[in-house]
Structure formats: C-alpha cells, structure tokens
C-alpha cells in the first residue's frame, strides 16, 4: 500500500510541474505589461516601477519562475496587490467555507443520486424511470446560478425561511451552519445529483443483468440482498469513479454559486481577484484548486484498490 501511494505521488509530480508553469504563465499571456494592467493606464511611472519590483517583473522569465516556485514550495504565495494581506491568509480564511460547501454538495449528490439511480435501474423503462432520466437531463442543463436566484427568491425573500446571503462554518454552531449551507449546497449539487443518478442507473442495470444475479434469484436469495449486497458491490467501481469526478464538478460549481450567495469562499475571491487583476491571489487560489483535485484523484486511486483487489 505504501509503495502504491509512493508511485502515485511520483506520477503526480509532472502534472504538478506543468500546473505551476500554467499558473505562473497566466499573468504573462496577456498582451500588456502586468504592472500596467493591474494599475490601469493612468498610473504614475513610480507606482508602475514599484509594482514591477514587487512582482519581480524585472528579472528574466526563467528566474522569475524559479523564484516563484521556490517561494510557493515554502508556502509563501506573496501578497495581494489590492488588499494589504498575504495570499495565504486570504486562502486560509476562504478555504474552510468552500470545503464545507463542496463536501455538503458531494454528500447531497451521493445521498440523493445513488438511491434514485438504483430506484430507476430496478424498473427500467417504466414511467418512474423515464421521469428520473428526464429529471437528470434537466439537472445537467439548468444553470446553477439561476437556480440559486430562484431558490433565494422563494426560501429567503418570499417565505423568509433561510438567509439569502453570507455563510457560517460548522465552527459557529451546527444549526447556523446548516441554515447557511443547505441552499447553496443543494444548488451546487444539482448537476452532481444528475450525474450520479445517470451513472448509478447504468451500472446497476448492467450489474443486475449479470448471470450471477439470475443464479442468486434461482437459489432463492431475497431480492433485497441481491440488490444491496451483490449488484451494488459490483457497481462500486463506477460509483467511486463518479464520486471522484463529482469533487471536480462540484468545485467548479461553487465558483459562481458563491458569488450569488455572497459566500466568502475561494470562488468569490478568485472572481473578485480576476475583476481587479490581482494575480497573486488568482495564482494562489488556482493552485489550491489544483492541489485539491490532485489529492482527491489520489484518494480515489487508492480507494479503487481497496474496493476491488483485481485492479493492480
């Protein structure tokens, strides 16, 4: 197991290296000088020189890159250009909000998606199945930020049941956290629910059509045991794959949804930073996202081998 983790970690290195190229390159692909871009056309010469110095733009690109990676490796992401704060401080504050939102979103996707998928798979082509399948088609097609607006209108403005804006983590009490999380978490999970439902349905239909299932039925095993013990276990690899995919999808969904609910998370920060062209913040946030995705992929890889020993 340790060797497996070791080889997997080694395989991540080229990916990570390329990711740092991309993230570092971001501020250099634009047509204009980054310092001028940040400060606007009307900035004074001295101020531009100052920012160029702060960003280290006077060095050759390779030197800049090596310096930047060296600092990042030590956890120093630099200072924000428009806020007098370290990027790591900003991320440290934003990350818990986004993580809570993503976890809640993934849990909702799985908790609703898996039973729905199984439900549809056990009665293929029935009216209920068609309803579930059509529902998941709508789920991947509805823009999540719009769904957020509609739900805010209903739950926060019309019925006054839930807060319309802001966010609280578990740290400030379970009840408060739940009230602030449930609506945005449901919104970020809509496409997740749809994806999980679709995949689980497909995998279960296949698993249930296996010869072994017929044998189990013939020997008189209760349907429930066949369904939950045998068929579901044979679909486990698909389900694990989908959950891995789900983290990436949900993470992407939080970006815009955080903006709608004014949740001070990573997405909210990166949007503001992009509007203000605060590159150190953008780079820090994007790097954090990439690290999360890589870590999740690693966990999924390991989970495969625990669940299905046939995979080597």
């Amino acid at each position: 197991m340790l060797r497996l983790i070791g080889t997997r970690l080694a395989a991540v290195i080229p990916t990570l290296l390329f990711a740092t190229f991309t993230i570092f390159g971001l501020q250099h692909i634009g047509p204009a000088d980054p310092a001028t871009v940040i400060l606007g056309e009307n900035a004074t010469e001295e101020r531009i020189a100052e920012v160029r110095e702060q960003l280290g733009l006077n060095d050759p690109l390779v030197v800049q890159y090596v310096k930047w990676v060296g600092k990042v490796a030590r956890g120093d992401l630099g200072g924000s250009i428009i806020r007098t704060e370290q990027v790591s401080t900003i991320i440290g504050r934003a990350l818990p909000n986004t993580v809570q939102l993503v976890l809640a979103g993934v849990v909702i996707s799985v908790v609703i998606g898996i039973p729905l998928g199984i439900f549809a798979a056990t009665r293929p082509n029935s009216g209920a199945d068609i309803a579930v399948t059509s529902g998941s088609a709508v789920g991947v097609s509805v823009p999540n930020f719009w769904l957020a607006l509609v739900l805010v209108t209903l739950f926060a403005i019309n019925w006054r049941l839930l807060p319309a804006r802001g966010f609280e983590t578990i740290g400030s009490g379970l009840g408060t956290a739940f009230k602030h999380t449930i609506l945005p978490a449901f919104v970020v999970s809509t496409s997740g629910i749809a994806i999980v439902t679709r995949q689980v349905r497909g995998a279960m239909i296949e698993a249930l059509s296996a010869d072994s299932v017929r044998t189990h039925r013939a020997k008189g095993l209760p349907w429930r045991t066949i369904l939950w013990k045998h068929a579901l276990r044979n679909s486990a690899v698909t389900i694990i794959t989908v959950i891995g995919l789900l983290v990436n999808t949900t993470l992407g969904a939080t970006v815009v949804v955080e903006a709608v609910f004014a949740i001070p998370g990573m997405g909210f920060r990166v949007i503001n930073a992009a509007t203000a062209r605060d590159f150190p913040v953008i780079q820090g946030v994007v790097l954090t996202y990439v690290l999360i995705v890589l870590a999740v992929n690693l966990l999924i890889d390991i989970a495969y081998r625990i669940i299905d020993p046939r995979i080597s």
Binding site: F18, A137, P143, L251, V255, I282, L294
Partner: protein
Amino acid sequence: MADETVVTVDTVDTPDVASAAPAGRPGRSRAEKFDFLWADTRAKVALSWILLVVVVAILAPLIAPHDPIEQDLTNVFQGPSGSHLLGTDDIGRDFFSRLLYGARVSMFGSFLAVFVAMLIGIPVGLAAGYLGGIVENVLMRIVDSVLGFPAIVLAIGIIAALGPSLTNAMVAIGVTFSPSVARLMRGQVLATKNHLYVDAAEQFGSSSLRTIRRHILPNAIQPIIVQGALLLAVAFLAEAALSFIGLGAQPPTASWGGMLSRSAQYLQVSPSVQVYSPGVAITLTVLAINALGDSLRDSLDPVAGTERRVRRAIVRAERARRQRA
C-alpha cells in the same frame, strides 16, 4: 400522450433509417446522413428549438420591438405590458428585446468556444495518436495536467490575463475544453491507424499528411462531432455563468447571463418574469443541445441506437400488454 407520439413515429420511421444505407453504395448522401434527426421525436423537438434560437439570434435587429440598449429612466422596473412584453429593467430598457439580442451572444460565444477547442484539440490528438512515442507522451502529460484544473477556474485565470470580454472568455473556455477533445481524438486515431487500408495507403506512397487527411480523419471524426455537440451545451452554460459574474459579455451588450445578474442585484424589485425568462431560455437551449448530442451519439453508435430501439420496443409491448389486461 407525448410518449405515445414518440412510439408511433419510431415505429413508422425506424425501418427507413435502417435501410438508409443500401448495400453496395459507399456511405450515405449528406441528406440521408441526417435523416435520423427526423426519425427521432426528441431530436426533432430539440433541433426545432435550436433553430428557433439561431433564427432569433440572426434576425434580432429585425424582430426586436425596441433598441436593446436604449434607456428610459422614467420607465424602470415595469411589469409586462403591451409595449414591453416582459417589462423594463433597472434603467428602463425593453427586457424582451434584450432577451432576443441575448440569443446572439450565447450562440456566438458557445460556438466560438467549441471552435477553439476543436482547433487545438484535433491537431494535438492527431499528432499524439499518429506519431506516438515521445510526442505522444509529452502531449498527453500536458493534456492530463490541464484536465486537473476545474475548467471554470482556469478559464477565470486566463480571462484575468486577457481582460474580460465575450471573445476572451469563450476562447478561455475553448482552451479548457481542448484536452478532452485531444484525448478523444488520440483514442480514435489509435483505433483507426492499424486498419489495413491505412497500411495500404502508406504502402502506395501516401504521405503522412495525406494519410491523416484522407484515411484517418474521416474515419475518426464522428465521435468528435458528438463530443462537440455535448461541449456546446457546456459552453453555453459557461458563457451564461461568466457573463453573470461580469467576466463575459460586457454591458451594455445584452446577454442572458448578464441580464440575470442585473435581475439578481434588484431581486426584491425586479418583475419576477425577468428573473425567470432568461433562466428558462438558457435551460431549454442547453437541454435541446444535450438532447441533440445524445441523438447524434445514438445514431452514430449502432449498438446504442439499437439498444434504444429495443428498449422502446419493450416499452411498447409492455404498454400493449397492460392495455389488454
């Protein structure tokens, strides 16, 4: 009732589709290739809606009752009325006209993104699959790395560098889509290049470029077209999202995402029809593009297509049995 229609159309038209490629004639004519769209009610409805949106996008200047950026500060937040079908927005612009013009932005933007994705992804995939070796290794490493970024976040980073505009936003989205095209293209090339006809062409002295263009590409492109249709749906959502957060189409240009963003700012006072209409327009269009993509895939993949026909036959039989009972 709607289901009933599906079944009838299917029964009548399926044999035609099956016999659309008579033996002994290589390939189907262009018109026949797209016959399946009219054999499938889902595809027919989806295609009609998409065509409607495209026509509206093209004809917007002719059919819009008002100028989409003309302000009327004495008439803000009006509800629907005879002269303003969907009312007016926060600075008195006609919401219905803006909705019509918004179709242009969304359609142009999403096609641009898919075009960029193909422009990068197809050559990269072709090169990786055809050349193999170190080229393949390096290219695929890069492809995998880009796939590790959540697409929207990478796109936001690129937009920050290029400056916010519709074109930049959709180029950025296209770039983030290109790895998935490249990966699929490579797989297709690998599956195609070992066929005897490719060997034969090379034996007869066909150059690499000619082999790729004449023999590999035509036989590998179909799944890419399906992928393109499905990416179009994602691009459509991405355009709306980026315009919503202010990084896509810039004001005063009317875009569906941008209109929702303004309605969101004035959620308490905006007529509710202005909160719903752009969202419904986006949802229906994305739903239609996805449905069309699925139909395209089914028709190109004979196994999936057959499976679906078999499933429908089962449903039909079940229904008939229940009616008899």
